[in-house]
């Protein structure tokens, strides 16, 4: 039999406090989301007067949205997987020229954000004014070459940017496979093809399948691309439909809530399946050890593979950035440059226009606070979950990881609804955004910090305890100094994520609390595309600076650890 601890120690108190904070941050909005979804009485009455499932039944009146969502998500998942698998195979298993370089830069699309990609591809590929289509017509083509506003256009842009996520996941599986497993098969006399079919494929399959489910879940919840490319043609997927239902007048809150709840149930199930696949299949390949994969000599074919890599980076990185830059320095952007058309006025405007500068200032302020408070909170949570042995630590872990399976837009929706009736009037202020960021980035921060924490031998802390050091002293003299690289990495990741945040901000920002990413979207729809391009580039620059510091820091930290 266990008996309860009587003395309340510092870690127990801190644990309780963190559990309350995390619980409040995560569960409070979710509760309100569910309440709104089940409200079948007067939509304005709070709390609801009647509960029921009619809102969910009402979803069936929108078969088009469900069909659109599935079409786009499915197409995008297939494309992203093809990109991810192909790139992973080329880079980890063949002797393509410049593998080291590609391995480094292949994750750049992930940092560029789908929003930036959507803006750039919109400039390139709208049927009438897209640069590519202008060139196509000038060369004698009729109508248009590509239509980026079509479902497959949307899926294409989503896949370009999610492709690097698929690459990272599949590449990790390929790298963690012991080449001796394949060599053993060949030594036993199996042909290359047989080895490929009977050994390599079964070993990699769980990882690829896992990546497929994960990417599909991400696609279901993705928002920015569908918003920028789908809205002009009124092509709605579930996330943009929810946004529309909340923003329109009068808003249809219960219906939006039901839609959001359904989406998040589907994503939850998908991520649950993903975890099952990963844990079930991991025993064969994942030994926690990285192997040097066997490199296949592909002969002449390697130049074709090189071309594929270059083409991908061109579509996902070079072309979007160049397009935005090209558009931002023209008065009215067109595919055919004219000297008189060039100007720097958009950059000047972006730096002087009140709306843009306040939004950027607000975003920087928010990013600094989110990162600073977040690292403290998430560091504490990581310690409690992975080190403290406190009862209920696994429950806390579950709660803080929960926002991962809810699209940020939907989380923000619950939050909007929850904080609207909160006695302290923070709705429409930056404080609400700060709370929102701290909530939706919980999984990101906790995963980053705990990843480093788990590499630190537990006995280093225990030894301090045996030397007589109390909890606070131990944390200050041993845990924090050892965790420092992880904390800095988490700080920068949170900073970058806050600057780029769209889904939560777009619903929660008020007229006096604008932030940069939604401001970019607003400017895209309301004012000029050229100014928007300039703003997006400025934001990208801020992110790029933060990311390069991040990379320098983590590189130093990893060489430090491996010393």
């Amino acid at each position: 039999m266990r008996f309860p601890k009587l003395s309340f120690s510092a870690p127990a108190l801190a644990g309780a406090l963190v559990a309350i904070v995390a619980g409040l941050l995560v569960l409070y909005p979710v509760a309100f989301l569910l309440q709104a979804a089940l409200n079948v009485g007067d939509p304005e009455a709070r709390p609801p007067t009647e509960y029921g499932l009619e809102n969910f039944a009402g979803l069936l009146a929108y078969p088009q949205i469900i069909l659109n969502t599935l079409t786009v998500s499915f197409a995008a998942t297939v494309m992203a997987l093809v990109i991810g698998f192909l790139m992973a195979w080329i880079i980890t298993r063949t002797n393509v020229p410049g593998r080291r370089f590609f391995e480094q830069v292949i994750v750049v699309p992930y940092y560029l954000t789908p929003l930036l990609g959507a803006l750039a591809w919109s400039l390139l590929g709208t049927p009438e004014s897209g640069f590519l289509n202008q060139v196509y017509r000038a060369l004698g083509g009729s109508e248009y070459l590509i239509n980026i506003n079509s479902p497959y256009g949307i899926a294409w842009v989503m896949a370009l940017f999610e492709g690097s996520v698929a690459f990272v996941m599949i590449g990790a599986v390929m790298k963690s496979m012991d080449p001796a497993l394949e060599e053993a098969s060949q030594v036993m006399g199996a042909s290359r093809l047989r080895t490929m079919l009977r050994i390599t494929l079964p070993l990699v399959l769980p990882g690829v399948l896992g990546a497929a489910v994960f990417v599909f879940a991400e696609m279901l919840g993705s928002f920015a691309v569908a918003l920028v490319l789908g809205l002009p043609d009124r092509y709605y997927v579930v996330t943009t439909a929810i946004y529309q239902l909340v923003q329109q007048y009068p808003p249809k809150i219960p219906l939006a809530a039901a839609m959001g709840t359904s989406l998040f149930v589907v994503m939850f199930v998908a991520l649950f399946i993903y975890r099952r696949i990963i844990t079930a299949g991991s025993y064969v390949t994942i030994t926690g050890k990285a192997f040097r994969p066997r490199v296949n000599d592909v002969g002449r074919l390697r130049y074709l593979l090189l071309a594929i890599c270059v083409f991908y980076l061109l579509c996902a990185v070079v072309l979007p950035l160049l397009t935005l830059f090209y558009a931002s320095i023209q008065q009215i952007s067109t595919a055919f440059p004219k000297l008189s058309n060039f100007t720097t006025e958009h950059f000047y405007k972006a730096f002087t226009m009140n709306a843009a500068t306040t939004a950027l200032g607000n975003s920087l302020w928010l990013a600094l606070w989110t990162a600073t408070l977040g690292v403290t909170l998430m560091g504490l949570i990581s310690w409690i979950v992975y080190r403290s042995k406190l009862p209920g630590a696994s429950v806390i872990e579950y709660i803080v990881m929960f926002p991962q399976s809810v699209p940020r837009l939907i989380f923000a929706f619950g939050m909007m609804w929850a904080w609207l009736i909160f006695p302290i009037p923070i709705y429409g202020t930056l404080w609400l955004l700060l709370i929102a960021y701290l909530t939706v980035f919980l999984p990101l921060g906790v995963r980053t910090i705990s990843g480093v924490m788990l590499q630190i031998d537990k006995s280093l802390e225990e030894c301090a305890q045996m030397c007589g050091a109390g909890w606070g002293y131990r944390i200050r003299t041993v845990t924090v100094p050892l965790l420092w690289p992880g904390l800095i990495a988490a700080w920068l990741l949170l900073f970058v994520a806050s600057i780029r945040e769209l889904g939560a901000s777009i619903l929660l920002m008020g007229p006096h609390s604008k932030v940069i990413t939604p401001a970019i979207v607003e400017s895209w729809f309301a004012s000029s595309t050229e100014l928007t391009a300039a703003m997006a580039l400025i934001q990208t620059l801020v992110v790029a600076i933060a990311v390069s510091i991040l990379m320098a820091v983590t590189r130093r930290a990893t060489t430090h650890i491996t010393d």
Binding site: E462, C463, C467, G468
Partner: protein
């Protein structure tokens, strides 16, 4: 040593990991200044027991007293946190903090205790002297070899004069030769400091060489407690006999009619064996244990009538310091280790053993 109160007392200790019992009711005590070793195969609960004494693991029942005062007691609902128990510990991984110098590592416990700068400098220097690491004082911890880290960990553990030192397999990460040297050094240091210590190991030689008393553990229970000599020469059961060095087990029927000179007789297909009971109860079916090194082989029949049997040499393997021979004796195979010349395989020989080396097991 005069009769004193035990320094550490562990009573009916039980520890669970979730629903899995790791320690299932363990009691022992350690006298002041004594070194006690918890010995057993991996998973026997020895490290868990040590960590419970340290306060790093929360038991589910029982009591632990240090200097007479309970630091953990399920009955009295006491659980003093590790940092307030006044103990110290050397970890298996050494746990040298990589972000501090050797000096800072050793000074840590003194700084926690808010000692003056001068006192710290002096004590750290003395401790580093004792482990011959003074020259490395300013080094970063990552520049040390395994043996050096071990010494620093040791100095750090005793520098603040804890009442008890705990060792969690401190030598298991060192190579064989260094381990043998450190074993002697550790033992000397422990004598010089006179600190009560509890030592955990799965290495028999280490336990025999370093301990005043040994607690042999198996599956969360104590298999035997005793001095190294007792444990080695008078194992209580087959597990201890076999785990503590290698032993042959001989089973058979007690022949009370053949008992002579205080020896008891056992009938086996290979012949009659005489051994000692050490006051243990003698049943009808009994088991003797005899160590592989205590059996001797000779080509000619030796003088004396007791405990001499003809055997056939099945296999003889030269292993360096000794050779190992497997003989067929009656319907059973026995292992014999010794420095004798290997005998030809398939040849006949005679096996003898002194009756006092043949020990009755309790079962």
């Amino acid at each position: 040593m005069p009769d004193r109160k035990p320094h550490i007392e562990v009573e009916n200790l039980e520890i669970h990991y979730g629903d899995v019992p790791a320690v299932r009711g363990v009691s022992f005590s350690v006298q002041p200044g004594e070194q006690l070793t918890l010995l057993g195969p991996s998973g026997c609960g020895k490290t868990t027991t040590l960590r419970a004494i340290a306060g790093l693991e929360q038991p589910s029942a029982g009591e632990i007293r240090i200097g007479g005062a309970p630091v953990y007691s399920s009955a009295q609902r006491v659980n003093i946190p590790a940092e307030k128990r006044g103990l110290s510990m050397v970890f298996q991984s050494y746990a040298i903090w990589p972000h501090m110098t050797v000096f800072e590592n050793v000074a840590y416990g003194l700084r926690v205790r808010r000692e003056s700068r001068e006192a710290i400098a002096e004590k750290v220097e003395r401790a580093l002297d004792m482990v011959q690491m003074r020259a490395f004082s300013g080094r970063g911890a990552s520049q040390l070899s395994g043996g050096q880290q071990q010494r620093v960990a040791l100095a750090r553990a005793f520098v603040f004069q804890p009442s008890v030192l705990l060792f969690d397999e401190p030598l298991s990460n060192l190579d064989a030769k260094l381990r043998a040297d450190m074993r002697i050094e550790l033992r000397e240091l422990q004598h010089r400091l006179g600190i009560t210590s509890v030592y955990v190991t799965h290495d028999l030689e280490e336990a025999l060489a370093m301990s005043d008393h040994i607690v042999v553990m198996r599956d969360g229970l104590i298999a035997q407690v005793g001095s190294p000599n007792e444990i080695y020469n008078r194992p209580r059961n087959a597990f201890v006999a076999d785990f503590i060095g290698s032993a042959n087990l001989i089973r058979g029927k007690h022949r009370a009619d053949l008992d002579t000179d205080g020896l008891i007789a056992l009938e086996t297909p290979g012949g009659v064996v005489h051994g000692v009971a050490h006051g243990r109860p003698v049943g009808a079916d009994i088991t003797f244990s005899v160590r592989t090194v205590h059996l001797a082989l000779s080509p000619q029949k030796p003088a004396g009538a007791r405990n001499v049997w003809p055997v056939r040499i099945e296999r003889s393997v030269f292993q360096g310091d000794f050779s190992q021979t497997i003989v067929l004796w009656g319907d059973q195979r026995l292992v014999i280790r010794g420095t004798m010349e290997p005998l030809a395989e398939g040849s006949e020989a005679f096996m003898t053993v002194e009756p006092r080396r043949v020990v009755l097991l309790e079962e």
